[in-house]
């Protein structure tokens, strides 16, 4: 049942970039090291230390921004390609300089969009939706405060390994209208950034973080805009895609209910934005603070760094390394190989290596749809079971294409058995067939058998000729009984041909 309100969602996503070193020093950018072991004077913010920009981080960020169809550093009153760093000032123990190097008024990218697929329907496919990107900018991450949770009031410890690791902040327009759309957006960002090698986007490890800005529009004919809008709530502490969905659903309902209680006061123009934390075990949002009390960050240009000028040559170099983006790939798999929208979705979601595997098999087999079906039938379950990635799989695309060609006439069970032997024993398809007790198909012998079956089943033949289609199955069954292991589709074909002659 549809809700009596429209949900409006904008997302702020932070992703950690997959650089070798941190954003402004040469410490390793690596998760899971012993506390305070990946630090130096620069990321510790020691007196006198200075930041120096990591070009790899900037290039990865450029790649992401181009994939998000953003304008690159084109700002009014500035040279083309001009972007700069700013300091965001606030005090916190996990931020040793007590300012964060970020980007304020001239971010390196802005005004882009991302096409996402929503409302999955295996038959009709997907509806594409454009989500606008306000801006994407680079900044340094803070460390981690580790609070004593024993309740005995122990000291808070600070781990500064994460301090100074590169973060890309992507801010969307409030263009999403359901938890499903929000999740689809996050999934598309994750897929794209992983395939581009920009970020591993592991929400559990914090390499992808998301804050959701949510409010609801309640249709009302007598309102100037035709609806009333509730105040914005920014939900933080979302640690999985599932919790993003749950939090949005909960918060939208809560806002609607509050509006019902206070239809005059609980409106966006009456209350400023508030921040809420998502309590996952309890399944509810907890309002934390009013934004009006929020800090004044006193942004100003970072004097320790020089502005960055992005040239056309640099942009071209980055573009040259991007490869095909997911949405283009989905389209191409459908037009070039005749895949269904849902098959294209499945393959693209598994990443570029899987798509490459599919394409190689399809080219050799000469039938993309069949290649996709065979890979879905046998390769995906095997990968699952073996906990392997496609590039670790012992059956190469060429070998699998060969398998598909040689087992085209087998029934499903036989194919499964033969593939199992190929995979486990590493033998040829021919040998695996023999090992599975499958004889080579002798078509002329089978044809003789079909002729004999037609001769022996006069009644069924008569019924068939009288229009009873199912009578044919009795004849097929008769042939199968006398030819154990014969491929069902071949037998059918021969029976059809022979019946036509009668």
């Amino acid at each position: 049942m549809a809700e009596p309100y429209k949900i409006v969602i904008g997302l702020e996503v932070h992703v950690q970039l997959l650089t070798k070193t941190k954003l402004f020093c040469s410490c390793p950018n690596k998760f899971g090291l012993p506390p305070n072991s990946a630090v130096c004077p620069v990321c510790l913010g020691l007196p006198g230390s200075l930041p120096v920009m990591n070009r790899q981080a900037f290039d990865l960020a450029l790649k992401a921004a181009l994939a998000l169809n953003c304008q690159i550093a084109s700002h009014a009153d500035q040279k083309p390609g001009f972007t700069k760093w700013d300091r965001k000032n606030y005090y916190y123990p996990d931020l040793p300089k007590n300012y964060q190097i970020s980007q304020y008024d001239l971010p390196f990218s802005h005004d882009g969009f991302l096409d996402i697929n929503v409302h999955p329907d295996p038959k009709k496919g997907y509806t594409a939706k454009k989500v606008g990107i306000i801006r994407a900018h680079l900044e340094e991450d803070a460390g981690k405060n580790i609070h004593d949770e024993s309740g005995r009031g122990g000291d808070t410890r600070v781990d500064l390994n994460r301090t100074g690791t590169p973060l890309l902040e992507i801010v969307s327009h409030p263009d999403m209208n359901s938890p499903e759309e929000a999740i689809a957006y996050l999934e598309e960002i994750r897929l794209m950034l992983r395939e581009l090698g920009v970020s591993d986007c592991e929400m559990q490890e914090g390499s992808l973080r998301c804050d959701a800005n949510v409010n609801v529009h309640i249709p009302k004919a007598d309102e100037p805009k035709g609806y009333a809008a509730t105040p914005l709530v920014e939900i933080k502490n979302l640690n999985s895609f599932r919790s993003v969905g749950r939090a949005i659903t909960y918060e939208a309902k809560r806002q609607y209910e509050q509006f019902q209680k206070d239809p005059v006061g609980y409106r966006i123009d009456k209350l400023l934005k508030t921040t809420a934390g998502w309590d996952d075990p309890r399944g509810r949002t907890e309002v934390q603070r009013h934004k009006e009390e929020a800090a004044d960050y006193r942004y100003f240009p970072e004097p320790d760094l020089v502005p960055v000028i992005v040239t056309k040559e640099q942009l071209d170099a980055v573009k040259a390394t991007m490869g095909e983006l997911p949405q283009a790939q989905r389209q191409r798999l459908q037009t070039q190989y005749g895949l269904s929208p849902s098959d294209a979705e499945v393959f693209v979601a598994k990443g570029r290596k899987t798509v490459a595997y599919l394409e190689e098999v399809a080219k050799i087999v000469g039938d993309g749809k069949a290649a996709a079906n065979r890979i879905s039938d046998l390769v995906f379950p095997a990968l699952n079971e073996r906990k392997e990635e496609i590039d670790e799989f012992p059956v190469t695309a060429a070998a699998y294409a060969d398998f598909v060609k040689q087992t085209g006439s087998l029934n499903k069970q036989d194919r499964v058995d033969v593939f199992k032997i190929v995979l486990e024993k590493g033998v040829s398809v021919e040998d695996a067939k023999t090992a599975a007790g499958i004889k080579a198909v002798d078509e002329s012998a089978l044809r003789e058998s079909a002729k004999a079956a037609i001769a022996a089943n006069a009644k069924a033949v008569a019924d068939f000729k009288a229009g009873k289609d199912s009578a044919k199955m009795a004849i097929v069954g008769f042939v199968m009984k006398n030819n154990k292991g014969a491929p069902n589709d071949v037998v059918r074909k021969l029976v059809d041909e022979e019946l036509a002659k009668v």
């Binding site: 004077p41 000032n89 005090y91 004044d296 006193r298």
Partner: protein, 486 residues
């Protein structure tokens, strides 16, 4: 003439001729410090045994015939704003009491590589904020020419150390005049290099877009020598400029032909002491005698320089000094408090009044609602000040005027009046705002025997010519040979 009155060049020559060893030189300066620093109070920390050990290694190297660095066996004092590995670095602030950096500033590393002997760390105005060195949380440095007077600031300790012959050379930093003004008041040579000429890595920042490190020396040759060592691109400082460093000492005595000296009327207005003005005019005449042409130039926006400076510098300082919060190093309050309380108490207890005043000024200038009217407007005027210099340098090669409006003033004379104190930098500040180079050389004394300094300002990265211009005057005069009796 004792060893301690000699220049670095002379000390290098003595060693090369086998007439003095690095150990003897170091001992002489350590003895001078032991003898005179109770009076001068220039040092925060003295490297006794370590300095001698380094000197012994250099002597051994020399004996073995190994190649020696350009400053081998020459002791150097370092302003306590520069990080020195394993040696306390306080910025003369209580908040950094006990802080020992785990790394060397780039300039310190370069001096060590040149076989210089780090002899100690010098007193300064806390976090380089001041013009008299009275804002040190630890001690008040005296002017070696008159112990009742201040040595200037903020690099007062480094200037006094050289003037009083406690070290032959030293390093200071200059954000608004903190090298040139004390050099002027102490009768020595001090340079503020072009912004980006010398790496700032390891210099504890006051105002990042204005700070530069530079040497104090008895004469121009030593200054050129030090500049050759400390200048140049540093991959650890993104604002250092990748441009070759000229061999300053090689061309130093080449006369500048057809020299055009710009004399800005704005540097000779109200507030300039008449004795200082007379000395500057005499120096300019000397240049005319040497063949230079004096040209009237104008720096119309220089009257805004002090205002712009106290917005830009304090804004940056309010952020640069945020890290001193008692959490990770330095002073932390003993009082029990929550997080915000711990920040406030630690900083309130350990920052001096002037530092607190500037942090508040800068925080205000950057706050929402005020940023446009103060910080952003100041940046616009800063651009106009830079344009003034660009226009002036179309007409002249170097600009000259007084370094400071007066000779050294008395201790306590301006400490209760921050504004009067701020005006001691009136002629030096615009150079930092414009990012150009500046230098002060001795050009005379007042009737009461206090040194007066002549300021030279040059276009960016034109230190080579500026040093030659300074050397022309020095070669014709003997002010640089005077030493005070301490």
């Amino acid at each position: 003439m004792s060893l301690t009155e000699k220049t670095a060049a002379e000390l290098l020559a003595l060693q090369a001729a086998g007439k003095a060893s690095a150990v003897e030189i170091t001992d002489a300066f350590l003895a001078s410090i032991a003898d005179r620093d109770q009076k001068v109070q220039a040092f925060m920390h003295v490297e006794g045994a370590n300095a001698k050990a380094v000197a012994a290694v250099i002597d051994a190297k020399r004996k073995s015939g190994a190649k020696l660095g350009a400053l081998a066996g020459v002791p150097i004092a370092i302003k306590d704003v520069l990080c020195t590995k394993g040696i306390p670095t306080t910025c003369s602030s209580k908040i950094l009491e006990g802080f020992v950096p785990p790394y060397d500033a780039t300039v310190v590393a370069r001096l060590k590589a040149a076989d210089a002997i780090l002899i100690g760390k010098t007193n300064m105005d806390e976090f380089a904020m001041g013009s008299s060195t009275e804002n040190s949380a630890y001690k008040t440095t005296r002017n070696p020419w008159d112990p009742e007077r201040i040595p200037g600031g903020s690099s007062g300790g480094s200037a006094a150390a050289v003037a009083a012959c406690l070290a032959p050379v030293s390093l200071g930093t200059d954000t608004g005049g903190s090298i040139r003004q004390p050099a002027s008041l102490c009768g020595i040579v001090g340079i503020k290099p072009t912004y980006g000429r010398v790496s700032r890595y390891g210099m504890i920042a006051f105002a990042s877009s204005l700070d530069q490190i530079g040497p104090f020396t008895h004469d121009v040759y030593d200054n050129a020598l030090l500049m050759e060592i400390i200048s140049g691109f540093d991959p650890h400082d993104a604002t250092s400029v990748n441009q070759p460093v000229p061999a300053y000492t090689k061309t130093l005595n080449d006369k500048v032909e057809g020299l055009r000296i710009g004399v800005p009327k704005e540097f000779f207005g109200e507030g300039l002491d008449s004795e200082v003005e007379a000395a500057i005019r005499t120096a300019l005449k000397e240049y005319e005698k040497l063949g230079a042409k004096l040209i009237d130039v104008s720096l119309p926006h220089s009257s805004y320089a002090v205002s712009v400076y106290y917005i830009v510098a304090t804004a940056e300082a309010s952020s640069n000094l945020a890290r001193f919060d008692g959490m990770h190093y330095g002073h932390r309050t003993k009082q029990k408090a929550d997080l915000i309380g711990t920040y406030a108490k630690s900083r309130g207890e350990a920052f001096g009044k002037e530092v607190q005043r500037r942090i508040m000024l800068g925080t205000y200038a950057l706050s929402s609602g005020y940023k446009d009217a103060y910080y952003l407007k100041a940046l616009k005027v800063r651009r106009l000040i830079k344009n003034d210099f660009d226009a002036a340098f179309e007409k002249c090669d170097v600009i000259m005027g007084p370094t400071a409006p007066t000779a050294a003033f008395k201790k306590g004379e301006k400490s209760d009046n921050p504004l009067a104190m701020y005006l001691s930098d009136i002629y030096t500040i615009s150079c930092n705002l414009a990012g150009i180079a500046g230098l002060s050389i001795p050009c005379g004394f007042t009737k009461t025997n206090l040194p007066i300094g002549l300021q030279l300002l040059s276009p960016p990265f034109d230190e080579e010519r500026m040093l030659r211009v300074a050397r022309m005057y020095e070669a014709a005069t003997d002010w640089h040979t005077k030493r005070p009796t301490v």
